[in-house]
Amino acid sequence: MISPNLDAILFEATVPVPFERAWAVQRQLQQRLLDYPEGPDTVVLLEHEPCYTLGRGASEAFLRFDPAAPPLPLHRIDRGGEVTHHAPGQLVLYPVLNLQRHGADLHLYLRQLEQVVIDVMAGLELQGERIDGLTGVWLEGRKLAAIGVGARRWISQHGLALNVDCDLAGFAAVVPCGLRDRPVGRLVDWRPQLNAQQLRQPLLDAFASRFGLVLRPSNPQDGVFKL
């Protein structure tokens, strides 16, 4: 298959971003592609300040706290899937793509996002795994990457979160992705020298290569999306 090498814009935040801000930017980027579907794909790479998010159809039964008084900010958002936790040290990739250019198939898209993480892990000589029916990427029974997406007219938002060297304590307050007896993990437990900063470029490279994109920084003509 010939890689089309589409132009795509990268928005990257170097310090942890509150969830609302990143979500607002994603919606702007999504609206921009809805208004102009021929425009370039965009991707946001960041780490979040600690928080919890729930998919649109998610059950509050998987929260081990009162949703009215959460220990960290709690957001119900427009993606598929159950509750998850974000914290610094977890790399979050939000591709805002016109999926019509990438197969127009939501399951295929989820599998491609998994493959990006598997590719990154292969670069660390770790063999990431899929578990049938459980979207995400796993290593020795632990979930290292959570995936959940939403789309309007095939324009995607949300994406993947890969635990690199984040504090996992926040996951204890929820049942991540609604899966009991399935522990979460982080890469640093297998590769002790690793930190999230080092893995940013490999993650972007793997993503760009899987989706046939050439990432470039945003320029003033692309508009200002303050992360």
């Binding site: 998919g55 993606r79 198939d105 399951h107 989820l110 309007r152």
Partner: protein, 438 residues
């Protein structure tokens, strides 16, 4: 329930963003569907009112199932609301294709349907039925009617449930009914090249078009499904092998058996089936995860059929190697008729192990086809035409010849296997077509 993925068989309704009675703008999101960990906002392609929700939030429906009804005017809401709950069987579209094949658009609502409601099934809205005396016509019929100035209200439709077809509009203007709308090979493979009606200036364009100049027309459900399948083929390493087959004997045999109801499609499908049984590698396909070669238990030849209102479907002649050819011709006529009225069951169009695409009846001299996902090969069959043929001994004669072109997934089928299959197919057609009838 729209198909958000070729591997999606059912979807969960997360939320209805509109409630019954709400006005729906064109392009406005009506509901959110979840499949796996992906959500999609589903939009209406028509302006109207959400009249009924047939599957509430939290429910799961198979792809293709009617999950709600959109009507054009406020007045029709009550009519639908009055009848919809009492009739749970209202317009249940047959579940569309599970995996790789193309799903059919939901059929028009049965004549008992409550009102001219459109089904919210996929990002396209199916035409309505006629209980309240409203006009139901195929998109092509509507287009033709507006081009030719025909009043649809005055017409009687010959389609399913009285739906007005393009042919009815043509007949109303006294126009001859042109090109067969279903472009399958039920005609002779031989077609004079001059029949491509560039003749008298006709008011209607000679070729099919789904829109008028200057318009942009959304793909319908079936077209979108075909598009997705075509995209999937981009991930398959394909190669193509061509062969010229002399058909003088086949054409003579076809002339003999045509009065008995045999069609060229049945003959070709049978020939392909018989040869495939001897070449199981060409009947095999790469498994969905790419790790294995899957050898089907039977030889099922699918034949591509273009649909009048866009898209195509591949009805399947199951066990083509073993089925009696007269039975096969009857099956085929029945499959095509039901494909036209969109009444095929998924197993009737999704179980092909090999595909045949025939454009011979248009006089096409060669083409190649795109491999349908889940299969290993597709054969493109062009027209049989008289050609000057040079023999090895230097003799020159005139014979009918047709070009065929096999597209294969190279992971499972290699060049030598494709070539051996074509050589055997050519040998059968060139020397012993009569054997197909036994």
């Amino acid at each position: 329930m729209p198909a958000l993925s070729s591997t999606m068989t059912e979807g969960k309704i997360v939320e209805w963003l509109k409630q019954p009675g709400d006005k729906v703008e064109r392009g406005e999101s009506v509901l959110v569907v979840e499949s796996d960990k992906a959500d999609m906002d589903v939009e209406s392609f028509n302006e109207g009112y959400l009249a009924a929700v047939l599957m509430p939030a939290g429910g799961t429906a198979p792809v293709g199932e009617t999950i709600g009804l959109i009507v054009e005017t406020e007045a029709e809401i009550a009519e639908v609301a009055a009848k919809a709950p009492a009739e749970p069987a209202v317009a249940p579209a047959p579940a569309a294709a599970p995996a790789p094949s193309a799903p059919v658009t939901p059929p028009p609502a049965p004549a008992t349907a409550p009102a001219p409601a459109t089904a919210v099934a996929a990002p396209v809205v199916a035409p309505a039925s006629t209980a309240s005396g409203r006009v139901v016509a195929s998109p092509r019929a509507k287009k033709l009617a507006s081009q030719l100035g025909v009043d649809l209200v005055a017409l009687r439709g010959s389609g399913p449930h009285g739906r007005i077809q393009a042919e009815d509009v043509m007949a109303a203007t006294g126009q001859p009914i042109t090109v067969p709308r279903v472009a399958e090979g039920s005609g002779p493979a031989y077609a004079p090249a001059a029949s491509n009606g560039a003749a008298a200036p006709a008011p209607a364009p000679a070729g099919d078009a789904f829109g008028r100049p200057g318009e942009s027309v959304n793909f319908n459900t079936l077209q979108n499904a075909v598009n997705r399948n075509m995209f999937a083929s981009l991930a398959v390493p394909c190669f193509r092998v061509g062969y010229t087959i002399t058909t003088t004997k086949l054409d003579a045999f076809y002339k003999q058996v045509k009065p008995k109801g045999l069609t060229m499609t049945a003959l070709l499908a049978k020939a392909v089936g018989v040869v495939l049984a001897r070449h199981p590698q060409v009947n095999a396909a790469t498994s969905a995860d790419g790790t294995a070669m899957a050898f089907p238990a039977s030889v099922n030849v699918a034949v591509a059929v273009a649909m009048e209102d866009g898209g195509l479907i591949t009805p399947v002649l199951a066990n083509a190697d073993k089925t009696d050819i007269y039975a096969m011709a009857r099956n085929w006529a029945d499959l095509v008729a039901r494909a036209r009225s969109k009444q095929l069951q998924p197993e009737e169009y999704s179980t092909g192990t090999f595909t045949l695409s025939n454009l011979g009846m248009f006089g096409v001299d060669r083409f190649d086809a795109i491999l349908p996902p889940g299969t290993g090969a597709i054969l493109a069959v062009a027209a049989s035409r008289p050609a000057v043929v040079a023999g090895k001994d230097g003799s020159i004669r005139v014979a009918n010849q047709m070009q065929v072109n096999l597209t294969c997934d190279h992971r499972t089928i290699y060049g030598a296997q494709a070539a051996a299959f074509l050589k055997d197919l050519a040998h059968l057609i060139e020397t012993n077509p009569e054997s197909l009838a036994f």
